[in-house]
Symmetry: C2
Subunit: 193 residues, 2 copies
Amino acid sequence: MQKLFEHIKKFSQVSDSDLKLIESVTSKKVYDKKDHLLTAGHRCHFKYFILSGCMRSYFMNNKGGEQIVNFGIEDWWMTDYDSFVNEDISHLNIQALEQCEVLRLSRSDFDHVVATSAGLNTYFRVILEKRHIADQRRIQYMFNMSGEEIYDHFNRSNPDFVQRVPQYMLASYLGFTPEFLSKIRKRKIENGS
Amino acid sequence: MQKLFEHIKKFSQVSDSDLKLIESVTSKKVYDKKDHLLTAGHRCHFKYFILSGCMRSYFMNNKGGEQIVNFGIEDWWMTDYDSFVNEDISHLNIQALEQCEVLRLSRSDFDHVVATSAGLNTYFRVILEKRHIADQRRIQYMFNMSGEEIYDHFNRSNPDFVQRVPQYMLASYLGFTPEFLSKIRKRKIENGS
């Protein structure tokens, strides 16, 4: 639990009883590489705090291919908010890309936690602020940057992460074809950058 | 204030003293059409709850043109979260597209409000959940829909709104050139759809 406690304390002032509360409602789960935590067509009943490992969310696009929406790594809450909050069927899949150890929090326990603890309510609000800011930046990059600039920016912002994910998945997340990503990488190697 | 009170009560359980608290820290402002509420290069010190009117946020893109990021209408909180939360210089502009009546909430008052009132803390968390869900849907549309599908979807989701905004601004928000939007609209008229 220590990892989650530290993450919470980074963003909110919480008491020992707040931490005990969240401990009492989360359960540890391990998913093997390639396991699905959520499959499209089902409701997303949980938020997952990633203790170790790496996962992705994706949907099947109109062309029948997989479009990656988000990656999640350590200290990240992974869920489909749309389904989790609106209690609706999800069209996303969440899949482990490595063996993943997570803490699982159900919708009803989440509701209980934020209604009971001001500190945890604040924690989840602050997390959402960060997520919204990241989304807005991403939308702005998508409008304003060339493919090469987007790739450079992602590399600079997530140097460790780029090593952990296959190139074709990175291409999907960035909205490129794998061929386009290869071309950028080749050019960079030739330029020594 | 009634409009804001109703909006808050839609999303959170609040007491009369919660409502009095937010009333005591917000101030009403009127902006004329074309006035800027925020100019790039300055810090965004406020959140604005829109009582009436319509506004946009935009930035100057790499090609020297205006790229619209968001529109805001009645019952919408408008701000640059990135600057407001991180207390950093904004690269966005927020501009009134009609005469706008807003309630203004400063960063320090916001901090005070969410720290003091559990009900208002929840209100702002729920607003952010909705915002994050909307962002995620938008990112998914950008990846998956053709220009025509994006335009149809926006029209269906925001029928009243489309009438209030000049076509070239709508094109910018959707990531089209004005020429591309004209082409789609012309095709629709020819097809009677």
